[in-house]
Symmetry: C2
Subunit: 114 residues, 2 copies
């Protein structure tokens, strides 16, 4: 599919898709038309982009995402990939914990001074 369709389906803007591509989060191929150099995106790009959107909201950096993408590439060791992802999971859980602390602090502040 072309970038416009991908953008529309994923809800991620063309510019951001290109930005992600420049940063190695997704890849595309140049189609074989002789008249243009439009790029082609496979379905898994859509899946990734949807994941990226959620992950960014969850506070993961583009660098984090890249490390996951890279680790899970076909060429990579399964065990290494597993370790990288596991690590990110731990970090996310820590972050969730931290959010819990902050929420408790704020709730406490509310009831304490209310």
């Amino acid at each position: 599919m072309r970038i416009g369709e991908l953008a529309q389906k994923s809800g991620v803007s063309r510019d951001t898709i290109r930005f992600y591509e420049r940063n190695g989060l997704i890849t595309s191929t140049v189609g074989d038309s002789e008249t243009n150099s439009y790029r082609n995106y496979k379905d898994d790009c859509l899946v990734w982009l949807q994941f990226f959107a959620g992950a960014r909201e969850a506070g993961m950096s583009v660098a984090d995402l890249r490390s996951i993408v890279e680790a899970t590439a076909e060429s990579c060791d399964r065990e290494v990939a597993r370790a990288v992802v596991q690590r990110k999971i731990e970090e996310l859980k820590e972050r969730a914990n931290q959010i819990g602390n902050v929420v408790r602090f704020l709730e406490n502040a509310l009831s304490g001074s209310g």
Copy 2:
């Protein structure tokens, strides 16, 4: 207390403290020495800074923090403050949820392709 002590106790760098102060997260007063213009920070600055550190880790922006600080100022309506803080709490909980989704996605990816 002076900025150095505050930095050391809070674990937040002088530069960052000044940055926060410029952005209205904390305030200080100029001491009454005739020879210098060193600023004075009260104990509650330390409490705030510790909160800020956790809140930033939890993904809150400086603007978020400012809105909390401003809403909870003495001069402000208790009910307004409560509403602002409650709103932030909801946002944090949403974020925690989002993290949960991402974690589940990643855990699934691990067990799915493992």
